[in-house]
Symmetry: C2
Subunit: 323 residues, 2 copies
DNA sequence: CCCCATTACGTAGCACGTAACAATG
DNA sequence: CATTGTTACGTGCTACGTAATGGGG
């Protein structure tokens, strides 16, 4: 068994069992991959991929389990390289983050600038996606960190750590009837068409209602991207509901922002990464810059705690003094 | 990075940094190992072993972390082979167990005979040791199963499952004053020298005393091996305290056995194996033979539950109908 | 008929073994 | 001086690339 063989089966699966495409992506020949897979299967005495004639049609049941382990091995190999890099040159490396548009656009710039200053030799890689995609990227080990604008617990391989709570605000054109409202009421929002984040992208608007009446909101338009929302608010499509941190007093003063923190339950932004990830110095610094209570010590402790419940307790204790 | 290189550094560490000895054990040349280790270190840009002159003196700090990951990789590789074996020929393979003398001698024979009948092509491997050694063997992945005569929670990598409770009995020669005792009292034991299991081997005798007075027992002799204890009881060294299951009515009728279950708190025998172990069909059958409530479904669920507390609850529920 | 995996074959690289060397205690 | 790791060197294996072959949809 060779590491390359494991890499090959892993990549072939990732490329939907297309060996040619895999070969192209790995800059190698396709017969080479074919051969190595066959050799591995011969050595193990089990087919990993089922073939119909000359096509790989599906992963066998044995293959499923083997691929899982292979993935784990490849991640460990990657982490060994990280470890080596850390000890040979702790100032260079790679930091990859998957998150949402709002984070990239409004929160990360300042933090990543600081990282760039401190670590000019660390290359930064950002990927955007839905909460679901972010979680999957981190689970697959394709990015180091997942930053989600909500608490997610459906990725058991990830250790998610709460960073900060955020609220929503309402943005309207200055000529909109709501523009002069002092304190926004929920009924105000029901009267006008809304423009806000995609349901499912972020969770549906979490309404803060004591009575259990379902909110009768009219979502006229939704987008994944705060700037798109603002644009359509500017065009008069309706009332925008966005994250408070996405209102930029400098650039957005052609819009009126109204606090809506009393209308919606606050959300919690979380940062997380895969269990077993080797955390490099600059990664720990990044996390601490992003959420000052998540010091290296706290993060290490969270990683040492295998039980989600205990981690929750840890974070509760750590967050308290920061509120 | 090659799998062999990882294997080499792992083995060299295991052989106390002696490359020559490692080479001998792996039936390869020692320059080959030296070279591969150097190559790996060059590739990673970090020394894994610190050298003074021509001797490997210690593992570097980077090496510590790397070796940990390397071990994990090697275990995953082994488990891939297990998986392949399971799918290609689920009736042949290897079953290795680390446990104490009493288990090997009095409990396992019947169970292993059944396994041998059902799976004549499965080779069986038993290793004996103290509770500590058993746990370490299983943690290192050198045996599939650890069977301990007590509950141990100091091996976080192991998933330990309770099997059955057992009590102690007292054995004496027929001419001993206690031989005709109807119901043994604790004071009876205090009057005579005792021969029992090594303290530390099994935990010290767990005394069932309502009053908190420390027991005033006179351990005249201790051994790891029940047969040794019996032998010395036969020679008149004193009163033997052994596990009930270790009294064999057929062979031991030259000794008188007295129930002592009311004098000592019962112990719980546990079986466990390393997290992430791929459990073969015959392994699951073995576990179920050993502890009928630990069916394949229960074991799988235990493995799927990462949190020790939740596992405890699971076992509590599963054990109830069996008591 | 195109796409794709397998087979065939040649080559370059490398892992491994033997032998000589160096350093340590 | 014995033990142990490193360097030097030769060889056989094998991974990989190119080219040709064969099956499926």
């Amino acid at each position: 068994m060779k590491l390359q063989q494991l890499r090959y089966i892993w990549e072939v699966k990732k490329h939907d069992l297309n060996v040619s495409a895999t070969a192209a992506h790995l800059y190698t020949s396709q017969p080479g991959i074919s051969k190595q897979i066959r050799l591995l299967e011969d050595e193990l005495g089990v087919e990993i991929f089922a073939r119909s004639g000359k096509h790989l049609t599906r992963v066998t049941s044995a293959g499923e389990v083997i691929l899982e382990r292979a993935g784990e091995i490849l991640r460990q190999v990657a982490s060994i390289k990280q470890i080596a890099d850390e000890y040979s040159n702790d100032a260079s490396g790679r930091l990859s983050i998957a998150t949402t548009y709002t984070q990239v656009r409004y929160v990360l710039p300042k933090i990543l600038s600081t990282i760039r200053e401190r670590y000019p030799d660390v290359s930064l890689h950002i990927r955007q996606g839905t909460t679901e995609e972010i979680g999957e990227l981190a689970t697959a080990g394709e990015v180091d960190f997942a930053i989600t604008p909500e608490v997610v617990d459906r990725f058991p391989e990830l250790i998610m750590m709460p960073c900060y709570e955020w609220n929503r605000c309402v943005v309207v054109r200055p000529d909109h009837p709501l523009a002069s409202t002092k304190r926004l009421a929920f009924e105000d929002l029901e009267r006008y068409p809304l423009v806000t984040y995609d349901a499912g992208f972020r969770e549906r608007l979490p309404v803060d209602s004591d009575d259990e009446t379902p909110p009768d909101l009219n979502i006229a338009m939704s987008a994944v991207d705060t700037d798109v929302i603002k644009t359509y608010v500017r065009l008069g499509f309706g009332v925008g509901v966005i994250a408070t941190m996405a209102y930029d007093p400098g650039n957005d003063d052609d819009l009126v922002a109204l606090d809506a923190s009393h209308l919606f339950t606050p959300s919690t932004t979380c940062i997380g990464c895969r269990k077993g990830t080797f955390l490099r110095k600059f990664m720990l610094e990044f996390v601490e810059l992003f959420a000052p209570h998540l010091t290296a010590a706290v993060v290490r402790q969270a990683f040492a705690t295998s039980q989600a419940r205990e981690r929750d307790e840890l974070f509760r204790d750590v967050l308290l003094p920061h509120r």
